[in-house]
């Protein structure tokens, strides 16, 4: 399998703090790749670099073979590389359906398409995906009134509505009720297998990430520490040390 995202020697510093030091990662097309590491190890910084939230100091980031490290957020999003936020971001004043409809992929629309009203197919797609994440019953509620976990699910559904080729998920299970997590694991796998979306996931919940990812990268202190299959990572002494605080 070829890689869809190719990160080569990326460095990023905030003033004197080096958040990423020569990080390299390759995300396989059509697969599920995980990114773990203790708090403050630079995972979200790397995500932000990939989706264009800030300029990087050095290195190269390619998406489908195209250099994207100099592109702004919206242009990267329009290439089909989407991210969800660690702190969920939904349109709180609108209901679930409206949130979904807004997320239709505008990159696939001409301005004339955008000036059409929503079609029946749009509504059906919104309903189907809301059902997929288990929010169908709550679709008419103001989404700002949903619980944090439900908002995360809604944000995930919105991302799917946008038909991305690759989706970067920042801690999809954080704040979600443990009983819902199993369902979410199932949905992430199905999003990958049924919709063919490449997933790149930051996750603190080891049970989740070991369960779904084929390849896992582990970061610590802004550097790439290890990579491998879930088994290899679980048995890597450096990873264990990083998590337990040994030096």
């Amino acid at each position: 399998m070829s890689s869809i995202i190719e990160v080569q020697g990326v460095s990023k510093a905030y003033g004197g703090v080096i958040a990423n030091r020569e990080v390299s990662i390759s995300v396989k097309q059509g697969g599920i790749t995980g990114l773990i590491g203790p708090n403050g190890s630079g995972k979200t910084t790397l995500f932000n670099s990939v989706v264009g939230y800030h300029p990087i100091d050095a290195g190269s980031i390619k998406f489908e073979g195209k250099e994207i490290s100099k592109l702004p957020v919206q242009e990267i999003a329009r290439l089909g590389l989407l991210r969800t936020f660690q702190q969920t971001r939904i349109y709180g004043k609108m209901n679930g359906i409206e949130n979904m409809l807004i997320s239709l992929p505008h990159r696939k629309m001409s301005i004339w398409d955008a000036l059409k009203t929503y079609s029946r197919a749009d509504y059906e797609k919104a309903d189907r995906l809301l059902e997929f994440v288990g929010l169908y019953e709550k679709r008419m509620l103001k989404s700002g009134d949903l619980s944090f976990g439900q908002q995360k699910l809604l944000e995930f559904a919105m991302a799917l509505m946008n038909e991305p080729t690759c989706l970067l998920l920042d801690e999809p299970t954080a704040g979600i009720n443990p009983t819902l997590i199993n369902g979410l694991i199932e949905r992430l796998k199905r999003a990958n297998s049924e919709f063919g979306i490449t997933l790149f996931i930051i996750e603190h919940n080891m049970r989740v990430i070991m369960n779904i990812a084929e390849t896992i990268y582990c970061m610590a202190h802004g550097e790439m520490l290890a990579q491998g299959t879930p088994d290899e990572i679980q048995n890597d002494q450096r990873v264990i040390d990083a998590y337990l605080g040994a030096h």
Partner: protein, 345 residues
Amino acid sequence: MSKNKIIFYALILAATFIAPFLFPNFGTQLATMWLMIIVALTWDMTGGQMGYNSLGNIFFYGTGMYVAAVISIGLVYDVGDYTNAAGGGIYAFTDAQYFSGLLLGVVGAGIFCSITAVLIGYVTFGLRGPYFAIGTLGVAIAAGELVSNWEWVGGGQGIALPVYPGDLDVGKIFFYFLFAAIGISVFVFARWLYGTRFGAAINAIRDDEEKADAMGIHALRYKLITWAMAAFFVGMAGGVSAFQLIHFEPLESAYQTINLGIFMVVCVLLGGKGTLWGPVVGAVLFHLFKEVTWNYFLGWQWVALGALIVVTVVYFQDGVMGWLTHKRPEWFGIKVEAKVAGETE
């Protein structure tokens, strides 16, 4: 559309047609009320629906006046000679020249203002929140100062346009219907626009522009188009105003930032930001309030106006429509639906 709605709209249309004949002494007042409705509805396109509070929409009103005047004069005479004479020379317009100049001038003003909205927006839409408001205000003020020093368009004296050919009372009704036609067009246009995917996208920009960016919405493109659409109607309204006022000058009547430029914002706040009917209701109420205070409390009219603004901003932020939606949600089809089977909580 439900039967009630059709009756409701038919009544409003009927009232629009009857009003100038019913109150013949208030022809110009009623025309100004439609002007208020136009500028309020267009202001709400960016301010209420897209979250960009422009204080510079008056720029399109003033520019519309000048463009319409220059086009209608330029079709017949040399504009420099005409303005240089300051009404002193003999510059006659035939009926055909007057009306063709008016039509081309007003439409040209709309198109010209749309183009300038895109150009100015390209720079100012980089600004957010209050900075956008102040930035656009700056554009309007600067334009007024520039135009008042531009002799070719009459400088500080402004331009005197030909008077409506024919009976002046008929003229008043003529301008009333021009404003009403633009006003109804804006309303119908906005009603359609807010129901499209485009309308939802500008709402998304209002609620969380960063999220909209991250979802790949063409934020800048949509912002420019929205402002250009608003500018088109404001420019046309400005063009009609130029012919209605006959004489206008740059600072007090064209680029009148502290009058109409602020009134349009107050209309929207009073009626309810981000709603279709809010700007209309607000404009009508505001115009009534303004005319009553200007007539019966002369000397205190600005104090009354200031008090209205303060009360609206501090105690009545949702405006009339927001308040009604809160008090009478059933009027707006917001009903508490029976719980869906299977839902537990």
